[in-house]
């Protein structure tokens, strides 16, 4: 059992937990993820390790309430426990000191990008972060990203904060203005990562994305998370989740993400009827 020692509501329907997981905290590296299961009937949910504290024996997770399982997860409070957590999983990022990196984060993707930005920053790399969200209220991890970045640019879809438009708009302006980072790291919704890769491909800038494919075991045994990279089938749970974004078949992956939409909808409807619905939606 893994006790939740801290819960924070970062934005509407976006929550942060700090949970006890000493073995994982001891060896977590940027890019690692873990799988949790809330209870006996629960799904195995993969989430990126957003931060870890080996001394306290805790890891930090951030999630957005989008379906039944994440809504139910959001109902847990400090002091409650999560039944199963396994990790660290995936291949961690091989982070070296570079001249400049640009971290492009969309929505809740800022949480998984934070440990990478932090690792680059600690090695002395110039970190330029571009953080986008739908609206001002949905911008999260501002203080954290500012602490590990040399520059942070914000965008909102509705223009309520920072650049009015998608985060890729800022990226295009920077690259068009002559910026040539050694690497762009992009984490966020698939359309956002695909759009980022389109922009960076024009300028010939290496781009690493982190894929959130549908998984079951998360250890390479089921192949649910397979994705085509450079024409080859890869398991994102083991060989990823980070890949060269210019080689990822995003169209295929976006189709694969719809595999269980009907079931997800049914589970959510049933959950809202059987419980009082999740707290986030009542607010």
């Amino acid at each position: 059992m893994h006790r939740i020692v801290k819960k924070e509501e970062l934005a509407p329907r976006i929550k942060l937990f700090v949970v006890e997981a000493p073995q994982i905290a001891a060896c977590a590296r940027p890019g690692h993820f873990f799988v949790l299961r809330m209870h006996e009937q629960g799904e195995r949910i993969p989430l990126t390790i957003a931060d870890s504290d080996p001394a306290a024996g805790t890891i930090t997770m951030v999630f957005q309430e989008v379906g039944k399982s994440t809504c139910e997860l959001g109902t847990l409070e400090e002091g409650d426990s999560i039944l199963d957590i396994v990790g660290p999983l995936g291949t961690p990022r091989d982070i070296k000191r570079l001249d400049t990196v640009v971290c492009v984060a969309g929505g809740v993707g800022v949480a998984p990008i934070y440990p990478e930005a932090k690792a680059f920053h600690e090695l002395g790399t110039r970190v330029i972060s571009l953080v986008g969200a739908q609206t001002k209220d949905m911008l999260i991890f501002k203080d954290r990203m500012e602490a590990v970045s040399d520059e942070v640019h914000y965008s909102t879809d509705d223009g309520s904060f920072g650049y009015h438009g998608f985060v890729t708009g800022i990226l295009r302006d920077l690259l068009a203005g002559g910026l040539r980072p050694d690497e762009v790291v992009a984490i966020g919704p698939l359309p956002m990562m695909r759009a980022t890769c389109k922009v960076t491909a024009e300028f010939g800038v290496k781009t690493i994305v982190s894929l959130n494919a549908i998984m079951v075991d998360g250890t390479g045994m089921c192949g649910s998370c397979r994705v085509t990279v450079d024409g080859k089938t890869m398991f994102s749970c083991v060989e990823g989740p980070a890949f060269d974004g210019h080689k990822v078949d995003f169209e295929e992956l976006m189709a694969r993400q719809t595999r269980f939409l009907a079931e997800e909808k049914l589970a959510m409807e049933r959950y809202q009827v059987h419980s009082e619905g999740c707290k986030c939606r009542r607010k």
Partner: protein
């Protein structure tokens, strides 16, 4: 000399009924039938059946105990050698092992040793006397051993070491123990309550179980040695699914058998939405492959509501690797066999979902390196079938994750761990291995046999090490 009695058939659920539920298909012998079947054993002097058992169960003795009505004693006799009798009684291929060598089989049908093993184990469990037979927990004085993987090889190795007095920690990466017994074999063939009970028995021997621990990631083999383990057994199985390598395999509606079965078995998706994990199955399902896993996937698809399920296999019936019993069960339930047929392409719609499969007819040519006649495509025989779900059950490779993290561990061409077959020793001192991680995907009982051999190898290794240091 008792009158000649025919082998007693295993009672089964009616096929029309059973395709609508996930309850066990085979119902087990009632006590009187078990006694009758046990009495068929002529107690021949050489007991060839025992040599056919990879874990050396004293078959004539336990069969005799059943014939005498001493059912609990029969179960304990089995457990002297086999810690998982209710599982073996259900999933062992007895027809190629103990029963194949039975003297009665020379002229008629062999004694139903598997069904009797199952009966004794089930009887002991139902009678609640299992607890009373629990040996004292291992003292641990002999040494500490880490067993990685709680499938058949790991459970057997752990149980045998605990019985020898070792302190054993059994590591499992999933949230639940049993390995393939849990995620691979469906409820209707091996009820999970039975796996729970047999794992509980292994725990009662003093084995400590740590789930959610992926050795190689959560903790490394080197760290285990540093933590004071004297030896490590790798029983991580063959869980890496193969795909066919044909176009269209990443379309929605294409599963590996591992994914399909893991969703249904481990995650209990067959009880969705009561359980949160979904599994989608369409109306027209094709399972590619003809092993036991393919039969399990086909029969699971039927129970999940598919209207028609076909096995597509490139060779003929004679080469099908599944147990005859499983093929019969599948056919009884309405699974269609499309033999000498090879898929060449999966066809999808504009939204990325499977709509069909292009196949080619095959014929058998000269024997290949496996000794089976090589299937060759018949030119111009391509045809398309309408399907919406495809399950790829064409085998698995050894799990690469842990073994590649152990420096110096010698691996074979398929990523399998190379061991000394007599001892289970690998190229790394103190590291042993057995089961599918060594052989590639094989049977539950072969993995158990390898776990047993490695337990002895580990015992010898630790004793020798201690003698040297004294």
């Amino acid at each position: 000399m008792p009158a000649k009695v025919d082998r007693h058939p295993m009672p089964k659920q009616d096929p029309r009924e059973r395709i609508r539920n996930f309850n066990e298909v085979a119902l087990g012998y009632p006590a009187d039938v078990a006694v009758g079947e046990a009495m068929r054993c002529i107690g021949c002097p050489k007991s060839p059946c025992v040599a056919g058992c990879p874990v050396e169960v004293d078959i004539p003795s336990f069969v005799k105990l059943i014939a005498e009505g001493k059912f609990v004693e029969a179960a304990r006799k089995i457990k002297e050698k086999n810690s998982l009798p209710a599982i073996c009684g259900r999933v062992c291929p007895q027809e190629t092992q103990c029963e194949e060598r039975c003297t009665l089989g020379k002229k008629g049908k062999p004694v139903a040793i598997g069904a009797l093993e199952r009966f004794a184990a089930d009887y002991e469990r139902a009678s609640g006397t299992q607890a009373a037979s629990e040996p004292a927990p291992a003292s641990g004085a002999a040494g500490r051993v880490a067993v990685v993987g709680s499938g058949p090889a790991g459970l057997t190795c752990a149980a045998d070491l605990a019985k020898m007095g070792y302190s054993v920690v059994l590591f499992e990466s999933l949230h639940s123990t049993g390995g393939v017994l849990r995620y691979g074999i469906p409820e209707f063939r091996l009820p999970k309550a039975i796996v729970d009970e047999e794992v509980a028995y292994v725990k009662s021997l003093g084995v400590e179980v740590r789930v959610n621990t992926l050795v190689g990631r959560t903790v490394t083999v080197d760290e285990l040695f540093r933590d004071g383990f004297d030896a490590i057994f790798l029983g991580t199985g063959a869980g890496l699914p193969h795909f066919l390598g044909i176009p269209g395999e990443n379309l929605n509606g294409v599963y590996s058998a591992n994914e399909f079965l893991t969703r249904s078995n481990l995650m209990k998706a067959y009880r969705f939405p009561e359980y949160d994990t979904p599994v989608w199955v369409g109306k027209r399902v094709v399972v590619v492959g003809a092993g036991n896993v393919a039969m399990d996937a086909a029969r699971t698809a039927l129970r999940l509501g598919a209207e028609k399920v076909s096995i597509v296999y490139r060779r003929s019936r004679a080469e099908m690797p599944a147990r005859l019993e499983e093929i019969e069960n599948a056919e009884e339930e309405g699974v269609e066999l499309m033999l000498l047929t090879n898929p060449i392409r999966v066809l999808g719609d504009e939204r990325g979902w499977v709509r069909g499969m292009e196949c080619v007819r095959m014929e058998l040519g000269e024997p290949d390196e496996s000794g089976r006649r090589r299937p060759v495509p018949v030119p111009g025989s391509e045809f398309v079938i309408d399907i919406d779900t495809m399950i790829s059950a064409v085998g698995t490779d050894p799990n690469p994750l842990l073994v590649r993290s152990v420096p110096g561990l010698k691996l074979g061409r398929h990523g399998n761990v190379i061991v000394n077959e007599e001892t289970g020793e690998t190229s790394v001192p103190g590291v042993f291995a057995g089961g599918d991680i060594v052989t590639g995907s094989a049977t539950v009982i072969a993995a158990m046999g390898a776990g047993k051999i490695a337990a002895r190898g580990i015992d010898r290794y630790i004793r020798a090490k201690r003698e040297r240091s004294e």
